[in-house]
Amino acid sequence: MFPTPIEKRSLPFNLSYRVAVWIALILWLLPLVAVMLTSARSTADINAGNYWGIPSEWMLFENYALVFTETPMVRYLLNSILITLPAVLGAVALSTLAGYALAKFKFRGNIALFAAFIAGNFVPFQILMIPVRDLTIGMGLYDTASGLILFHIAFQTGFCTLFMRNFIVGLPDELIEAARVEGVSEWQIFWHIVLPLVRPALAALSVLIFTFIWNDYFWALVLVQSDEVRPITAGISALKGQWMASWQLIAAGSVIAALPPVILFFAMQRHFIAGLTLGATKG
């Protein structure tokens, strides 16, 4: 283990380390603490410029109630869910199929196709913006959830295929070959042998791209314009314009927007990190 385990150091060093870790954490998260405190402040506090101290009176419940009743926040939240869940499902499904084909079948152009998926995943969004916007308008899907979902599925398929392909490559060939000799059809092999084996990868991938899609802002600006469809990232940003002086409400909205990915991350931490660092152990 590196650095040297702290237990092997002197007692004062050991103790001060334990304190330092928590102080560092508070400093690191200070901006977030401030937002959370601000979401509980009263208007009087805001007007008096008390942004960083302890709120003079706690308005936590009132502020959040106000956000939910006086702003379209519930709608935004619902939109984000309605966009993110199908997009995650679609991207993971398509890329598991594609990843399996790239990992376990030999055919001409295999590597080239794999390379195209990797490369596509890194391109700047702006090179896609105008054509994708036109395509979405052309299909009559501009300002609909389906328009956003389709794009997210297509784009995330690049990263997801890279991920699934690398995971499936590691599965033993013998299982698949034994089934083939038995005369099991390729689809059955995929469904009954491969799919159960990739379950941990599916979990990791889903958590990871859930946060990617949930936090998307650019495509929400480009493909959507009305409150009825707008996801929470674009929603907060729109609220900022309308509620300029009511920082406590913007803060409450920000906390609401941040909560789902944070909760998911906490619940499925191991999977999340496994997803993020795939490829970091090789390459």
């Binding site: 283990m1 937002v35 942004y51 398509l94 105008i130």
Partner: protein, 291 residues
């Protein structure tokens, strides 16, 4: 891998690949070509397109705003490179087995999980000239307040610092995982040879962390070139376009100024710059694939 026997089964990989490939071609590959093609046209986004050859590019290279955005992207790339070493530093600091350390590690990772729009809002407060914590801190040292986000000289750096916050968290996680997978025998052997501290880090640990460093550097460069959300939420490129980056400049020209052809030219330039890194990443990835 093996050859498939029956004719029917040979079509299976095609069927497995078809949905993903079709969507990917329609939404990613084809639009890239279309954008490049569009960059040779004058187009307001709705009406007729007029072929203008390289005129968009000539205008672009004469456009002061383009050079400002490009320069800012360079600043982003240079200062974003602080994320891997700082991330490594935090990872080394946290790589201990004390009570509650798992919770601490995951909370350190928070900034990466939350939306950049929220990060942008948070940092706008932080920098606010009248009540922001940043200026209160400056005040403690007896310094004059600085309106970071409306000061031409500071604005880009202010946004970059906001961007570093999640990026450092990302690099930290990559390194924490790397530190977890170190080869303990090598470390013990080096310790017996009297290596410790900086020497140990440089000659024993860092070489083993190379895969993590590779990913950290690639995602950091790509992140710097992709920066859009923070610029859009914190300043909209202002004041007077001084904090714009290519991604935002392109968006502004195409959506607000109705210059889709010109926007496509900006996007193409950004795409070409990014291609250098994409090609490098692919080359490394495929090389390790063959090995």
């Amino acid at each position: 891998m093996q050859k498939l026997h029956s004719k029917q089964q040979q079509w299976m990989p095609v069927l497995f690949l078809a949905p993903a490939v079709i969507l990917f071609v329609v939404y990613v590959i084809f639009p890239i070509l279309q954008s490049i093609w569009l960059s040779f046209y004058e187009w307001d986004g709705i009406g007729e397109k007029t072929f203008v050859g390289f005129r968009n590019y000539i205008e672009l290279f004469d456009d002061y705003q383009f050079w400002v955005a490009l320069k800012n992207n360079l600043y982003w790339m240079v200062f974003f490179m602080l994320a891997p070493p700082i991330g490594l530093g935090i990872a080394l600091f946290l790589n201990q087995k004390i009570m509650g350390i798992r919770l601490v590690k995951s909370m350190f990772f928070f900034p990466f999980v939350i939306s950049q729009v929220v990060v942008g809002l948070v940092f706008s407060w932080f920098y606010d000239p009248s009540f922001g914590l940043f200026n209160k801190a400056l005040g403690l040292f007896g310094m004059e307040p600085v309106a970071v986000l409306s000061d031409e000289n500071w604005v880009t750096f202010g946004i970059i610092v906001a961007g570093l916050w999640p990026q450092i968290a990302y690099c930290m996680i990559l390194y924490l995982t790397g530190l977890n997978n170190l080869n303990p025998d090598q470390i013990e052997a080096a310790r017996l040879d009297g290596a410790h501290g900086w020497k140990m880090l440089r000659h024993v640990i860092l070489p083993q962390l190379r895969p993590a460093t590779f990913i950290a550097v690639v995602v950091t460069v790509i992140g710097a070139l992709r920066s859009f959300d923070l610029v859009a939420t914190m300043t909209s490129g202002g004041p007077f376009g001084t904090s714009s980056v290519l991604a935002y400049f392109m968006y502004e020209q195409s959506i607000f100024n109705y210059r889709a052809g010109y926007g496509a030219a900006i996007a193409t330039v950004l795409f070409l710059i990014m291609d250098i890194y994409i090609a490098y990443f692919l080359w490394r990835m495929l090389k390790s694939e063959k090995a």
